[in-house]
Subunit: 346 residues, 4 copies
Amino acid sequence: MIRFTNDYSEGCHPLILDAMARANLEGNPGYSTDPHSIHAHELIRAACQCPDADVHILVSGTQTNTTAISGFLRPWQAVISADTGHICVHETGAIEASGHKCIPCPNMDGKLTPDAIRAAYAAHNCVHMVQPAMVYISETTELGTMYTFEELTALRAVCDELDLLLYIDGARMGSALATGIITLPQIAQVADAFYIGATKNGALFGEALVLCNDRLKQDFRFNIKQRGGLMAKGWMLAVQFEVLFENDLFVPLGQHANEMAVRLRDGIAALGYSFASNSETNQQFPILPDTVIAALESDFDFEPQEKADDTHTIIRLVTSWATRPESVEAFLSALGEVTRAQEISA
Amino acid sequence: MIRFTNDYSEGCHPLILDAMARANLEGNPGYSTDPHSIHAHELIRAACQCPDADVHILVSGTQTNTTAISGFLRPWQAVISADTGHICVHETGAIEASGHKCIPCPNMDGKLTPDAIRAAYAAHNCVHMVQPAMVYISETTELGTMYTFEELTALRAVCDELDLLLYIDGARMGSALATGIITLPQIAQVADAFYIGATKNGALFGEALVLCNDRLKQDFRFNIKQRGGLMAKGWMLAVQFEVLFENDLFVPLGQHANEMAVRLRDGIAALGYSFASNSETNQQFPILPDTVIAALESDFDFEPQEKADDTHTIIRLVTSWATRPESVEAFLSALGEVTRAQEISA
Amino acid sequence: MIRFTNDYSEGCHPLILDAMARANLEGNPGYSTDPHSIHAHELIRAACQCPDADVHILVSGTQTNTTAISGFLRPWQAVISADTGHICVHETGAIEASGHKCIPCPNMDGKLTPDAIRAAYAAHNCVHMVQPAMVYISETTELGTMYTFEELTALRAVCDELDLLLYIDGARMGSALATGIITLPQIAQVADAFYIGATKNGALFGEALVLCNDRLKQDFRFNIKQRGGLMAKGWMLAVQFEVLFENDLFVPLGQHANEMAVRLRDGIAALGYSFASNSETNQQFPILPDTVIAALESDFDFEPQEKADDTHTIIRLVTSWATRPESVEAFLSALGEVTRAQEISA
Amino acid sequence: MIRFTNDYSEGCHPLILDAMARANLEGNPGYSTDPHSIHAHELIRAACQCPDADVHILVSGTQTNTTAISGFLRPWQAVISADTGHICVHETGAIEASGHKCIPCPNMDGKLTPDAIRAAYAAHNCVHMVQPAMVYISETTELGTMYTFEELTALRAVCDELDLLLYIDGARMGSALATGIITLPQIAQVADAFYIGATKNGALFGEALVLCNDRLKQDFRFNIKQRGGLMAKGWMLAVQFEVLFENDLFVPLGQHANEMAVRLRDGIAALGYSFASNSETNQQFPILPDTVIAALESDFDFEPQEKADDTHTIIRLVTSWATRPESVEAFLSALGEVTRAQEISA
């Protein structure tokens, strides 16, 4: 079975495992107060060209988003998100469980637009409604699409105008950076806070939350601890970021994932299929006939997203730093065969 | 200034004030354990033909909805509502503040349909999403429309099929019952829990929450207390329900409100204007030219809802048990004059 | 049955009922934006000599405490209280339900001391513990005792030193002011926020929350709404405070309650009984033999607090603006008889 | 610097690192639905002789406690704990942040007694107080002491009598089991739920929550996800438990830790020092003169707990599977020297 189900079905890059083994018996202070953590934070600040940022390394994406958002907002404040946003859909109501409404906006190819933010803000105009105080976006988006720096700058301008915080979920930041469309310093320039996801880009576990806005920094470690995210062995998360950022490994891992994805995309397009979103990143959403999907399922694992019409379904193909070219070739070859077989029988 | 802004700009029906004055110095045990409370609960059970129901009288609508919903759901469960639902829009995120997501569904004339519930349920199909466990509807709806008993029965069937609780917000239950479209026993028959709103139908303050489903009853008073709703002088809320239900006052007060509203509606329609919803109840939503609205604002107070087009706005006109026929006539007469004046000048 | 169970078994002072009747059909804007509310806020600010304070009138004590405390604290912050504090014991965990720990400290005659605050603060010294950010006290205390202005000033000094907010629960502020030990301007001078309780001092329902510290004011109405405390007919709460503060009624009502309590106290003491606390206010805590208590229970209603020893129990006697001198005499006379009868039989 | 600060300053046992390396590139389904997870759950059920238990592997202790407790309780319910309990003190209010009060009871050598539970239960006797619904204990306790099976059985009996759940925090279950005082099947027999902590006993990260009581099982994965604990690479946590329980490694690692601790204890006692608690497990609490502590601090790292008197302090010494005998000898030898030097100079 060849998997394109997600970008976390493998553990970590071998260099990371080596580094973890080397650090394993060092003996380190707990709770991210150790030299590895201090060093990893410094490397991340440098990569972001944001020398004053506070960096906190947490262990999972939902935890990071909840800790950040609940730490930033007052009780009556809400976060604006695309209706496809991870926090709106796929975190089992974690944001609401922390007391805050997610205001869903219609997405444009997975993205939030300045106009959608303005409309959501304008619709919340009195004390009987939640107070929008924050914008949540994902880079790359849940549909594999990307905000350009221009688009991010436009969102930042709206946030400044309306006094909203801008928070960027970087679960797939590796893939985003690897496109060359955006850089970490640009992300740090527009965001009040964001996280750099490593779980989906080479690490075993680990998400580095970067707080750029001074106002968000105070007492944040209390918040992490309360939300269950202050890890006793935080240094074992930090070691992973040391490898990724000291060896300039983070972006190349994303590049490999993207290359595999683009190869899939181009091969699938060459067979005449179309896509539900326009992605250059490690998630591709082809629309395939249900009969084709059925024929592929014995050898390949992937997730159906939603029905496109009565006989077609959008599927999601995800690649990672660990995806092998042979797997991509096998998929394209199988898809070609199935396609031709069905054309003949039709 | 003549007001059609809401149905709570007057205090309470004079009979209620009299009863409160009579009970004022009686001396009663606190926290709704007094004879008035016991009697009021009994009257409400009888009116609902639901002898086993638990009744709790609370003091405001948002408090009642939050106490009920947060008391019924487990942490990861969510409530399905029309996107126009009061809890979705106008309670400043109180449901989310209690930890639960409101799942908004497209409304049909302010109403939730079985298909919308099914779609929302189907879309939440895994552990990464909240678990829909409850349906919230309002009778009358936020647009003044109503569910018929047939429609309620259909919603109940969907809830049974999908194992969802059905909760009915009766902030304007007086107006609903007054139409004759629905009765309290029918409401009690379909709902797991509902409340009978008196604040908007003759009382000073007070909402009677009726728990029909045995599973929801246990320890509910703890929940009320924790949410700040267990009133020291609960008997002064109960006295109001005694008057409303002992004297058969509740429905007639709603009838007056509806009569005033229908008179407004028919008069406005006769002048050629259309409406944003099809209401027989105490909220009417005419669509008027902005120039007409501007001309009315010096003498009449009402709330704009939203723009219908570039030159027209939907306004909300609300009547109550206290609305005087002269006020209605004055509005219609003024609207007639303004309309004619603008036709001539056009 | 003569009641000394609490100070809320009657409705409201007749002057308040009159004022409510007069205002009943005025027609007023909702949600405390009306002229009565504006006027009541102004009267309260004047009484406190605190012209810049924000005043919000809520409907119950638990609601007021929860709204205030949850609105003032960040998620990881906690409130320091005497272990007898109302929020620690008698609010069904409402503060914890809003996400915040109450740190209980040993009380001295119902009071929190500077040393106890310092000790609680010092014991919470790392990121693995909640961060104390606020001190909660009640004036009068839950044991009927009082903080003098000197004691309050000392608490304020500790709060300033340790960067803690000082919040005063004034559920029985009427009784406190009536002693002459403290004044409203003094309360306003030391507190960051406090509330003036009227439910237990002449009003039907109503607690006036006074925000003195500018930092606590922003967006507070959102918080009230979310917690279910923004009343549609807020003006009917305001009318009650207009009567209490315009007619200089608030303190005299407390004086009557205190007089009745002191008469009880002195009469009980004259019979040779001692007390669990040293109170000049409307709550008295005599220690009586269980046999005496048993003999009184057929004619008098009051609450046992806790066992003093195997044969004695501390009871609570509460008086109010509505307590009649005859009731006090009847109690003292009955207690005298029972006491003598038991002495003879012993 | 030799550390006795905690039992998590090393990574994981080398066998675990090997197993993680072997599994690293396997490709596994996410979110603990993989074969390793299924196998680890089976091994744990077998070790507990509890074939019907549900097992969930989470990533940290605070997360596990919060997820369990908030998943088990209704909003108004509270958890009874010793005042030294980890949830009461060292989780930054995580339980309160989930909405529930921790009721602290006086501890006996770190332990909760049936009498203390009964007293806490009896003190919460009305709707104005939280409802105790659960007992939380730690095995080993926060003071290194242990409940015997007899003591646990007595606690279970009280819980049955008062309808309370019994939950056991097993952050240091390895050390507990290694004493021979208790077994996993005995733990599973008395507890409604408990967790087996591996982070402090050989694993990198990982706590296995065992749900014995059927009533607690339903939908629990939703709860884990909402609390941020459903790890994408859950299989990498499971692999660690496979090693610990397949190779019978878990108890021997605890035995080593205990041996080192007992050697420390006996050596310290032989020098004439006493202890704050009576521990046979991997935490020891000697009481040392401040001058001695000062002399040790340059070479040894450990945590002061609290002042014993003006010139003595209780310190905590913690050992683990990774503590080397040479470190223990070095400490005892240094302590001996310092002690003798101070005796001479005295």
